[in-house]
Symmetry: C2
Subunit: 208 residues, 2 copies
Amino acid sequence: MLYKAASWKKVPDVERERGVILPGKGKEKKERQKSLMDKIVKDPFLTDEELSEHFGVSIQTIRLDRLELGIPELRERIKSVAEGTYAKVRSISGKEIVGELLDIDLGKKGMSMLETDDSMAFEKTNIVRGQFIYAQAESLAIAVIDADVALIGVANIKYKQPVRSGQKLVAHAEIIKRRENKFFVWVRIKLRMQEVFRGKFILVALDE
Amino acid sequence: MLYKAASWKKVPDVERERGVILPGKGKEKKERQKSLMDKIVKDPFLTDEELSEHFGVSIQTIRLDRLELGIPELRERIKSVAEGTYAKVRSISGKEIVGELLDIDLGKKGMSMLETDDSMAFEKTNIVRGQFIYAQAESLAIAVIDADVALIGVANIKYKQPVRSGQKLVAHAEIIKRRENKFFVWVRIKLRMQEVFRGKFILVALDE
DNA sequence: CTTAATATTAGTATCAGGTGCTAAATGTAA
DNA sequence: TTACATTTAGCACCTGATACTAATATTAAG
């Protein structure tokens, strides 16, 4: 789920729910509230006004519903999305290196560090998903190439050990060969002394 | 960079800068503004009030500085962080299949579709980054395995054609061999009739 | 010292998107 | 008809701003 309802604290004391008799309209209300929760989870950027138009009820009703459901106001929702994803984006964003660039010698070699966390791992086992390790390796490989844009042509990779969330991964990349616009890069990722990933990338630089 | 200054549009016409004579205090101002930009880039969640306290100037001065630097207000900054990352997280989130699961025959084969967008691509060229294509392939490969958790052991992959943002990718995965807890999975990703990715994964199922 | 320009601070009106409260209107089932 | 749930309305207030005007330093140069 993108927008965790569970993270909304301070659900207010809603005395209304005590009511023994639930008149007919209760169904409409319940359905609307269910649908409302759904809609906001899918798109937390909706204002009460937009929601009231969508459901054909007044703004006040939407506010009551949010109160009963413990859904915070728009700004808090946006903030929670921003805060919740701020760290993740740092490590997976296509814009930059996945992980932190520790050292780089353009055209030769580079080094990066990735601090893994729960968001990158399987929930049950805390084992970090391969795609994040791959992304660290790929982005470092691209970074060491001294060219504007580089694409992966071929990759040969091997995961040697599972990585648990919370562990710090250090990646080393080295350009071992170059033929015209083709770069051959080796990337090794270590967890302390142990190698957990090894990959050979062939990258193609595009010049425009 | 986490928080793109470049994405802040509508830099206002600041006539002040025309001034020929720049008195002494100009240095303090410039330094403060540089530092201000830095601070906001590092932490976009700071209000004008907090910033004014930090720099020991009035809120108005902070506002003037923001105006001159083209930095939007707090709420817009938070929103931009949230919006900018919302799509990315959805498509790369470890929780689910990257792309949409179209068909699955557990233990045999599966099919998924990924609609690429700008957030997955290089800005200059619109070419989709390999890690997203890889993530689609990997997650589908894991999905077809009829086991709780599977890890990638080895992967042999090849990107055959660049993919532009906006294009729809259809991935087919097929288990071709199984030896105990090791699964051999082929994944092919096509863009219409053309194959853009081909990979062989060896997955290891973990049972606890 | 005076002047002109810059830099800073102050104050007011206004806005969006709410909260929190009270009160009234509108169902609806018994 | 009544009791209760549900919905709507209205108002004061809040935060973090914008937009604007005006006053007050600060400072370099004549």
